[in-house]
């Protein structure tokens, strides 16, 4: 789950992480009022959408840039008028763009130095690790590739947490001046507390800045939350912005289905995440393009199978559907009944390739054969993938 920049700022403020003054505006009056409160400083106005590349984006109304610096409340109101309610297109949004419903209005920091700082979960050690670098404001992967010696890694004991001496050590390694050591350490500790408190898998601050006045501030923060832990953080779950997500994925999640939309024309319906990924891979291997990842889970019901088909055929690019089920606990005859019901009620117009294996496979195959449906039966996974690729190509 992703959250907006202004929401990240609010989370940081709860844990006393110093950041620039400012808040979110949903209307022109809000924007003007916030600017007035900020006083006689440079003010940055930023479009709040989940996609990156906002600064270089263009609004569909012709206005250039999703990030602007202004000085007075009137100027802020004027620029907000051109952004609020408009569609912003960036290299990450695709040509459809995203509607800007909110703006972050904040004091523009006078930056002297930029630092990279992240707390993340290290799978290899099964513990948190802090990754930091004096080379902030740029892509950290690029720094790691070009000058790995500039990446600092500080492992954290998961039971004891970040110790004050570790925060001081990091502050020194990141070349903070003596008067800034305390505020830098405090900021690091606040970030670590935020990471733990919200069950994050990553909190990345890029850049963490030192201003010309010597303040240490988190300028922008990116959060990755552990979806498995959202049940105990209703306040985080509430930050979800469905308007920013693929509507097909939103619909799928309502029915307990795990769906990710892709660009190909062969839809897949599979039980199990590993097998679902492998099914996409074998489609590609035989020259086709998967339209999605879809895991119906271990115990899908007939109803879930029907819902899954609805989502698959709502994608107009889809020319063929490949059903690949390895019945373990899930029985093939139940899946077969789900397929038959879905095909009949939805009047499927795309080609359907079905591969069933496992528990009650004979009963499942018989149900499909007797149903009168135009189903292409496949014997094994390779056969199924080849038949689906052929079906999709034939209908182009």
């Amino acid at each position: 789950m992703n959250i907006h920049e202004y929401q990240a700022k609010e989370l940081l403020q709860k844990f006393d992480v110093a950041t620039t003054r400012g808040r979110v505006a949903s209307s022109l009056d809000d924007a003007e009022q916030i600017a007035r409160e900020l006083g006689d400083v440079d003010i940055v106005v930023k479009a709040q959408i989940h996609a990156g590349g906002r600064g270089k984006g263009t609004f569909k109304n012709g206005f250039k840039g999703g990030v602007h610096i202004r000085r007075t409340p009137d100027q802020v109101r004027d620029v907000a008028l051109k952004m609020l309610g408009q569609i912003l297109v960036t290299h990450q949004t695709g040509p459809a763009g995203r509607k800007v419903n909110k703006l972050l209005v904040a004091e523009s920091a006078d930056i002297a130095r930029e630092i990279y700082f992240a707390v993340l979960l290290d799978r290899a050690t099964a513990a948190p690790v802090i990754v930091a670098s004096t080379e902030g404001g740029v892509e950290i992967e690029a720094v790691a590739a070009k000058s790995p010696e500039k990446i600092i890694r500080e492992p954290i004991d998961p039971l004891a947490g970040l110790q004050p001496f570790q925060a001081r050590k990091l502050a020194k390694q990141l070349s903070f001046e003596p008067p800034q050591l305390k505020s830098a350490s405090k900021l690091f500790e606040g970030l670590y507390r935020t990471f733990v408190a919200y069950d994050c898998s990553m909190v990345e601050v890029n850049p963490l800045v030192v201003t010309t006045k010597g303040e240490v501030l988190a300028l922008d923060a990116k959060f990755n939350f552990d979806d498995n832990a959202l049940y105990r953080h209703p306040e985080i779950a509430a930050l979800r912005d469905i308007a920013e997500e693929d509507p097909r994925e939103v619909e799928a999640s309502k029915h307990g289905l795990n769906y990710i939309g892709l660009d190909g024309n062969i839809a897949c319906l599979v039980n199990g995440a590993g097998l679902a990924m492998a099914t996409m891979d074998i489609i590609k291997f035989y020259g086709g393009e998967p339209a999605n990842f879809l895991d119906v889970g271990g115990g899908a019901t007939e109803e879930q199978v029907t819902e899954a088909f609805k989502i698959l055929i709502a994608d107009k690019k889809v020319k063929a559907i490949l059903v690949n089920i390895f019945g373990g606990i899930m029985k093939c005859d139940i899946i077969a009944q789900g397929i038959i019901n879905a095909a009949k009620t939805l009047k499927l117009s795309v080609l359907l390739v079905v591969r069933l294996e496992g528990t009650n496979v004979e009963a499942g195959k018989k149900l499909i054969a007797d149903s009168g449906l135009a189903v292409i039966a496949a014997d094994d996974l390779a056969d199924a993938a080849q038949k689906a690729v052929k079906a999709a190509a034939g209908k182009k």
């Binding site: 979960l121 799978r123 998961p158 039971l159 498995n228 590993g274 097998l275 271990g298 373990g328």
Partner: protein, 291 residues
């Protein structure tokens, strides 16, 4: 021969009275697994299906029945605590089937398990089976066949696919382990490879991995130096887009790391035969065994 479990396993099921727990306990018993106890706090004193005594705590179950392995079906919010409860009693093997456990919880479990004698399989896994002897998990028993191929995998149904390919070609399995799809879990690919390498009943190994993390690479490095048994592998997620979690919490390519292409290259460099498609896993191993 086999690794980790055989006929001597005496199983306690934590969460035995829940829907999934009860169903799969019966499936395991039908397969021949010796289920000696169940645990559900507050239901101590009951009998499960008239045969298996239920206790309030694992320590009572351990004292009364000498159980030496546990299968955990407790719902995610309490599952980490259940694993630790089993570990505290010293049972040798804990198999956690539960999916959706917060990763911070598993981080604490891992830290608290250091220096303990118990081994953990999972969470979010299908479990472990030694065909013909003992099944601790949710895999369909009948697709397996006793034999001498060891199978290690992160995923459930993809493991069934590989096992079924082996069985249909007449090749049986010594033990099959689903280690689970979460970012932090118990035994890793490498731990299982080491056990299979030492097991005289295992002649060859299938290793099934997926995008995310570096566990497959770590196993490959070790195999290159230490393993003389034939190894075949498959890595799922060649077509997975970066930054998207593909079902399993651990299956994600982030920051250019954990890609299928990178893993396949490392595996090949270690002399492992990598199947080009998931349909060719068994054939790839068989060809390597004959080479």
């Amino acid at each position: 021969m086999s690794i980790l479990v055989d006929k001597s396993a005496r199983l306690v099921v934590q969460g035995i009275t829940g829907g999934a727990g009860a169903f799969h306990t019966r499936q395991c018993m039908d397969y021949g697994t010796n289920v000696v106890a169940g645990v559900t706090p507050g239901k101590g004193g009951q009998m499960f299906d008239g045969k298996v005594p239920v206790f309030d705590t694992v320590s009572e179950a351990r004292r009364e029945t000498s159980c030496n392995a546990s299968m955990v079906f407790v719902p995610a919010p309490a599952a980490a605590d259940s694993i630790l409860e089993a570990v505290d009693t010293g049972v040798e093997l804990v198999v956690c089937i539960t999916e959706g456990i917060p990763v911070m919880d598993m981080m604490r479990v891992k830290a608290l398990m250091r220096g303990k004698q118990s081994r953990l399989i999972g969470p979010n896994c299908p479990g472990i089976i030694t065909p013909g002897a003992c099944k601790i998990g949710i895999m369909p028993g009948y697709i397996h066949k006793p034999g001498n191929i060891g199978v290690i995998s992160r995923s459930g149904t993809l493991t069934y696919e590989a096992v079924w390919q082996l069985t249909s070609r007449g090749y049986g399995q010594s033990t099959c382990i689903g280690i689970g799809g979460d970012p932090i879990g118990g035994l890793a690919h490498l731990d299982c490879v080491k056990l299979f390498n030492e097991d005289p009943g295992t002649d060859a190994i299938i290793l099934i991995g997926e995008i995310g993390g570096s566990a497959e690479e770590e196993a490959a490095e070790w195999i290159k130096k230490n393993c003389e048994k034939p190894v075949a592998a498959f890595i799922a997620g060649m077509t997975a887009p970066p930054g998207r979690r593909m079902g399993h919490a651990g299956a994600i390519v982030s920051g250019g790391k954990g890609t299928a292409a990178g893993k396949i290259e490392t595996l090949k460099e270690a002399g492992i035969a990598v199947a080009e498609t998931p349909a060719a896993i068994a054939d790839t191993l068989i060809a390597r065994m004959k080479a």
